[in-house]
């Protein structure tokens, strides 16, 4: 009798131990009911947000089959570099073939490459790369300044709240994402054109001088923002270090 009790005790101890040590199972306990062959981005890519914070719009991706029709019930998993979090990290596509997730970027300013992943019926993996941009404090200030002073002319896209002046200008301004042009200009060039206007670099006078409106810090912030959003990405010229 006593022995049996002891065995019971030991058994229950083991059980308790097992229960405590068992790690929470992987997040995706979802079972896919559908399979596609292609992943496409529906919305939420190329967003500009602040470091560590949830992006304004959710990231939405869609799973399609060979004919390009949406597949419901396919499992999509999201992943990204350290510091990026997804809510949820995985999900099954809805009736329109889409999965939506809220993304919070990491704590360093820069570009973040996120991956959406799904598998075909034959367990072949299909990946979709999505890029988002995180603004640090300095770039955030630049972004706000862009919104207030620059975007009316430099951003060709109109919204009901803010109609773009881009089309009305005889000489077209460069959108800040236009890396092919802006990446060739040095920080000193950009500072000159912002401070003293277009004529400082033999460009159009339609670009006014902001040197008496914006402070030096604000102009630096603006440039650091322009550098971060440029496409293709901007790489600062500088020392090249031996890499291990």
């Amino acid at each position: 009798m006593k022995r049996r009790r002891r065995i019971l005790l030991v058994l229950s101890l083991i059980l308790v131990g097992a229960a405590c040590s068992s790690k929470p199972g992987p997040a995706s306990t979802l079972k896919p009911t559908g399979f596609g062959v292609a992943l496409v981005e529906s919305s939420g890519g190329k967003q500009v947000g602040a470091t560590g914070m949830v992006l304004g719009d959710p990231l939405v991706v869609q799973v399609n089959d060979e004919q390009g029709t949406a597949v419901a019930g396919a499992l999509v998993e999201f992943s990204g570099p350290a510091g990026v979090s997804f809510d949820p990290t995985s999900g099954l596509t809805d009736s329109s073939g889409q999965v939506s997730t809220n993304v919070a970027l990491g704590s360093m300013a820069g570009r973040y490459q996120l991956t959406a992943h799904t598998s075909t019926r034959a367990q072949k993996s299909v990946d979709l790369k999505i890029e988002e941009i995180a603004l640090g404090y300095q770039q955030e200030v630049g972004f706000q300044l862009d919104n207030k002073y620059c975007a009316r002319c430099h951003n060709p896209e109109s919204t009901p709240e803010r109609v773009s002046n881009y089309d009305n200008l005889e000489v077209k301004p460069h959108p800040f994402t236009e890396g092919n042009t802006l990446n060739k200009m040095s920080d000193a060039d950009l500072t000159a054109i912002i401070s003293h206007g277009g004529p400082a670099l033999n460009k159009s006078a339609l670009m006014p001088a902001y040197g008496y409106t914006l402070s030096k810090t604000e102009i630096e912030a603006l440039i650091s923002y322009i550098r971060l959003v440029s496409d293709p990405p901007y790489h600062a010229a500088g020392m090249v270090y031996a890499q291990k």
């Binding site: 602040a50 470091t51 560590g52 914070m53 949830v54 304004g56 510091g83 809510d87 809220n102 919070a104 990491g106 704590s107 360093m108 300013a109 640090g136 404090y137 300095q138 955030e140 200030v141 706000q144 300044l145 207030k148 002073y149 009316r152 002319c153 009901p160 709240e161 109609v163 002046n165 009305n168 200008l169 159009s204 006078a205 339609l206 670009m207 006014p208 001088a209 902001y210 040197g211 008496y212 409106t213 810090t217 630096e220 912030a221 650091s224 600062a236 020392m239 090249v240 270090y241 031996a242 890499q243 291990k244």
Partner: protein, 683 residues
């Protein structure tokens, strides 16, 4: 057993010499523990790693010299701020600009911020345990120290400890603070600022004293059950009421309501079917959408958020009340942000019919309420008291209770021992606050706090704003804080003041620090514009900025009212910076006008944003200047050209550092733009 112990004792301490040796040996080992611990400490390990990292870089010599200037344990000590930080012991490269490509912690370069490390240390912004010298103790909460690192997503909270005014670089904190005031959090929770004042709510929940005039019991029931079904933008939270509770509260509110004279006046019956198209265009012309939103067929909410959403307003309000409200909203609610439009009777019936037609048959389809019993009404009153409805709404016979909900003045420093966490939750203040906002009732179904409908970004913003409410924020020396501009309670005087209150000018315009930001600041309006123009504009507001969707509505003011307002604005809203009459309106020499034209089109290229000649110019960022010579005062134009930001802080017109001659010539050119005689005649 006993034998062997005795044997061991004999071996070690058998004779005095041997005992001495053994004890000395033990002593040496004991003494070596401290240096060994030091030698193998975590921070030395990181410093060694750092040296290895910089060793292969081009500027290794410089970096190494910087490092050796102060190696060992580092400390930033700021007695005034209560900062003792040793973080820089491991975070060695924070100030090394050339490490911008390094992404491994703890060696990253600190991103650019407006403060320096030596002035503020690290824990001011990042929290954590400054004096700790191990990774675990510095970053996480341990038994002895409970302040973990603040997650990056809330880091703007730290700015809010000292800065009370909105900052350009902290949109999340600014949003959170707006939400605290706008979603009515501070109706129930007191939040005191270090100067002793409390945060004031900016929403204006309607009084329920005369609710029966306005709407039906069925609508109240449906609204109480789920406010967001009626209006997606509703800020009223969901109290998760049971059917009988919602029934009883609606019964109480209706029976408790007192009538307002005039609300029951019958809608003037019209023989023909209402002209909805004409109503829609009147709605558009009156710029109702500047303040009120409507959800369109695609589900997008379009319009302003000053007033309530009107998507389903026809299912809510009684037509008699709606007409009385449109006639003069101040009869029902003296303090409303809605202007008193002077609509004519035919306009009133057009708008009433148009708005009354915005219905949703599904909203009240399943609401069937029997006549209320006295018990139900009494129970409703009890519930209204218990749920603190009077904290936000005025209700006859129920007083607003102070301190209805816990005070949040120091919520960001609330000791963890006083918090009951949910199972599986990280034991940290940010997680607790966010969870409380996300789902208040998950902490207990009997809790009173209702469910707000907030987007994830809004929850983060609110959490950020609350995390800024720390002990440190309260106790900082006043000299180190940056207070917000004190709220202005400016009130224009006399008859004009009453008229401005009646027209709710402050809902859109700011004057002397009080008012909205939808429309231009009018503090110096009297120095800026010409009298005739202002008079004509108040009578029939024209368009200055064609690209704007929000414009000044036409209030149908009487001539007497227009003169009253014009006189007041022209006399009182004068800038002391210059003399309005110091420059003439006419008579500039043609050569100077021509010189101004050259400057306008070539040197300053003003046409990128402004239109003077509608045939050539296309810029419409700034106001159209075709008639600026009949609109603005010459001295104002001159001073505006010289220093726009002084005249109207925050304007986007760049300061061009113009010299006197250029500014005078441009003024001459602009004053020559009187507008075509045709337009004059039209006025």
């Amino acid at each position: 057993m006993k034998n062997s112990l005795f044997h061991l004792w004999q071996t070690l301490f058998g004779d005095p010499v041997r005992a001495f040796g053994v004890v000395s040996l033990l002593l040496v080992i004991l003494l070596a523990v401290a240096p060994a611990k030091n030698h193998f400490s975590e921070w030395r390990h990181y410093q060694k790693q750092y040296l290895a990292l910089i060793g292969s870089r081009g500027d290794a010599v410089t970096l190494r010299r910087h490092f050796h200037e102060h190696d060992g344990i580092q400390q930033i000590w700021l007695p005034q701020l209560g900062v003792v930080d040793r973080c820089t012991t491991c975070h060695v490269g924070l100030k090394e600009a050339s490490l911008s490509d390094v992404s491994t912690q703890p060696f990253r370069l600190h991103p650019v911020i407006p403060h320096t490390l030596d002035q503020f240390g690290c824990v001011m912004c990042h929290r954590g345990q400054g004096p700790a010298t191990t990774v675990e103790e510095a970053h996480s909460s341990t038994l002895a120290w409970e302040e973990p690192i603040l997650p990056a997503r809330y880091v703007q909270a730290s700015c809010g400890q000292c800065h009370r005014a909105p900052l350009t670089g902290t949109p999340q904190l600014n949003l959170g603070r707006n939400l605290l005031a706008r979603y009515g959090c501070v109706h129930c929770h007191t939040i005191k600022l270090p100067d002793g004042s409390a945060i004031k709510p900016t929403d204006d929940p309607p009084s329920l004293e005369h609710i029966a005039d306005k709407t039906t019991r069925e609508w109240i029931y449906a609204w109480l059950k789920d406010p967001q079904t009626y209006a997606v933008t509703a800020t009223m939270p969901n109290f998760k009421l049971s059917d009988p509770d919602a029934r009883d509260i609606s019964a109480f509110l209706i029976s408790n309501s007192t009538p307002v004279a005039g609300d029951t006046a019958l809608v003037s019956p019209s023989s023909k079917a209402p002209d909805l198209a004409a109503g829609a265009s009147l709605y558009g012309e009156s710029f109702c959408a500047s303040c009120h939103a409507v959800q369109n067929a695609a589900g997008n909410v379009v319009g302003g958020d000053v007033g309530p959403e009107l998507t389903r307003v026809g299912s809510k309000v009684k037509p008699e009340w709606l007409q009385a409200w449109l006639r003069n909203p101040r009869v029902y609610d003296a303090g409303t942000a809605m202007p008193h439009y002077r609509f004519t009777d035919s306009q009133l019936s057009l708008l009433t019919a148009f708005l009354g037609n915005k219905t949703d048959s599904d909203l009240l389809a399943n609401v069937h309420l029997d006549a209320a019993t006295p018990e139900q009404i009494a129970h409703g009153k009890l519930l209204v008291t218990e749920y603190g409805c009077a904290s936000c709404h005025e209700i006859n016979g129920i007083k607003k209770s102070d301190n209805f909900a816990p005070e949040l003045t120091r919520i960001g420093s609330k000791p963890l021992t006083q918090i009951i966490f949910l199972p599986g939750m990280t034991h940290a203040i940010p997680d607790y606050i966010a969870a409380k906002i996300r789902q208040p009732r998950s902490f207990g179904s009997a809790l009173k706090m209702p469910q707000f409908s907030l987007a994830p970004a809004q929850i983060d913003a609110l959490t950020t704003a609350l995390l800024a409410l720390t002990d440190r924020a309260q106790d900082l020396p006043r000299a180190l804080t940056v207070p917000a501009k004190p709220p202005s309670n400016y009130q224009p005087a006399g008859k004009a003041g009453q008229l401005m209150a009646d027209l709710a000018c402050f809902s859109c315009h700011a004057i002397n620090g009080r008012g909205g930001d939808m429309a231009p600041d009018l503090t110096w309006e009297g120095s800026s514009v010409q009298r005739q123009w202002l008079q004509a504009f108040l009578k029939n507001p024209g368009t200055l900025r064609p690209a704007l969707i929000r414009r000044m509505p036409r209030f149908n003011l009487s001539d007497g009212e227009v003169t009253e307002l014009t006189d007041y604005i022209m006399t009182v809203y004068q800038s002391p910076a210059f003399d309005r009459d110091s420059m003439p309106a006419n008579g500039y020499p043609p050569a100077q006008v021509e010189q101004g034209k050259q400057l306008f089109y070539s040197k300053y290229a003003c046409q990128s944003c402004h239109i003077v000649d509608t045939k050539v110019d296309k810029g419409y960022v700034g106001p159209t200047l075709t008639q600026v010579g009949s609109r603005l005062n010459a001295a104002w134009i001159y001073h505006w050209l010289k220093e726009p930001q002084t005249m109207r802080p925050g304007t986007i017109e760049p300061n061009r550092n113009m010299d006197d001659e250029d500014a005078r010539a441009l003024t001459a050119f602009l004053m020559a733009q009187k507008g075509s005689s045709k337009q004059e005649a039209k006025r």
